[in-house]
């Protein structure tokens, strides 16, 4: 009897999911676009498969950081190592990402999901598909064109598609912006299940309540620099950097 609180990710025979626990090591990471320094000298160690939340004001460079970690952008400086290894095709295959603006294929909801199943080619992927469709309430939408879904429905679909890849690391860029509380809950429950299934989650959010609910540790970015990386409790109770304090205060006043 499978545990309903855990996503049963398929693994290759005889293989546990150790990669999710591999340390993600970031050294001197910088990104320059059109002469503008967007990220500068980021040092960060993300050990173990904790759920890490990345916060910071608009334009701080959170999305760019995720894209660098996922290998969608090439760093201008510094390096990213995962278990001591540079990002390559093979390591990137063990990651998945939900974008700030989800890009869905011009197909039905089911066909979008089937695309990921076909990529994965594992027999268990089909089982995972039906679990995710249940969890994220996609069954009634299965035959609808993905592009006609509402924003919240699209985010649920994008999350399901990403999780079908059974990633060791899952990057999420504000997956719950503009979502109603019920959809937010659905997504958070699914993230918990993925965590229990062994996936490391890196989540960008502006929602303080969500950050409090989910975060085990928090990374704070400000104008392309990392000002703080703390355990969630200490970040929320006694933020170390003045930037994080100001950000938290501003948010609370809103």
């Amino acid at each position: 009897m499978p545990d309903p609180r855990v996503l049963p990710f398929p693994t290759s025979p005889g293989e546990a999911r150790p990669a999710a626990r591999l340390p993600l090591t970031i050294r001197g990471l910088g990104f320059v676009a059109d002469g503008t320094r967007i990220l500068d000298g980021i040092d960060l160690d993300l050990a173990d498969n904790r759920l890490t939340v990345i916060m910071g004001p608009n334009g701080a460079g959170k999305s760019v950081l995720l894209k660098l970690l996922h290998g969608l952008l090439a760093p201008s400086a510094g390096r990213i190592l995962w278990g001591g290894r540079e990002l390559d095709r093979q390591t990137r295959q063990r990651q998945a990402m939900v974008f700030q603006k989800p890009v869905l294929f011009r197909r039905s909801v089911r066909a979008n999901l089937q695309f990921a199943v076909n990529l994965k080619k594992s027999p268990e992927a089909t089982e995972l598909l039906s679990i995710l469709m249940d969890d994220l309430h996609l069954n009634d939408l299965a035959d609808r064109p993905a592009r006609l879904l509402s924003g919240g429905e699209q985010q649920r679909l994008a999350l399901a598609r990403a999780l079908l890849l059974a990633p060791d690391i899952l990057f999420l860029d504000e997956p719950c912006a503009n979502l109603d509380p019920a959809s937010v809950l659905l997504i958070e429950e699914t993230l918990h299940k993925a965590r229990a299934g062994g996936t490391k989650v890196l989540l960008v959010t502006h929602d303080l309540h969500q950050a409090r609910r989910l975060a085990e540790d928090v990374v704070f970015l400000h104008r392309g620099r990392l000002t703080e990386h703390s355990d969630a409790d200490s970040y929320f109770d006694t933020p170390a950097s003045p930037e994080a304090r100001a950000y938290l205060a501003g948010q609370i006043l809103l």
Partner: protein, 235 residues
Amino acid sequence: MQDFANSFSLAFELLWRFDPALGEIVFLSLRVTFAAVLIACAIGLPIGAALAILRFPGRGLFVVLFNTLMGLPPVVVGLLVYMLLSNAGPLGVLRLLYTPGAMIIAQSVLVTPIIVALTHQVLSDLNAEYADTFRSMVVPWHKAAVTLLWDARYALLTVVLAGFGRAIAEVGAVIIVGGNINHVTRVMTTAIALETSKGDLALALALGLVLLMIALAVNAAVMAVRASARRMAYA
């Protein structure tokens, strides 16, 4: 003026009776053009998709090349294919000159660059949207190509139609390599040219009307398909 009206009524009579000589010409035209467009798509769609996805040195050159070849003068293509297929040419042994096969080759050469260039355009736009997702999911490039071709299929219908329109309306190349031989290589456009010069305006007009109707029917069908696809957000 008398002649003019007379030609029209004769033309309609030919159409009405579905004159067998007329039918033969129309049928051959369609056969040649369908075959040519099919070949051009088999070559042009994958090349267009590859150009839209792959980034390799000299890619821009290829794009410019195919865009230029889109405007190839048909008579030049006719001449080149003629030289290839003539007895002294490298493909002379195939004995294809003055057969429908030669016309199919000539039209394929004309249409392929159109399919490549327009497919590249359509798929580049879609790829701009999908590229990050493909990269994120580590989709191999040939799978990405198939995905783009499939998801853009309704837009590509218009591309195929443009190729069809160019092929079926074309005279210069097919008359050189086909020779406009009655019952063998006479197609609508070459027949119109011949009959007009002979003064038999009725047959020429009848064929012209058929050409128009074919263009109309194909365009209407494509528009209907695309409209319903757009309603479903698949286009």
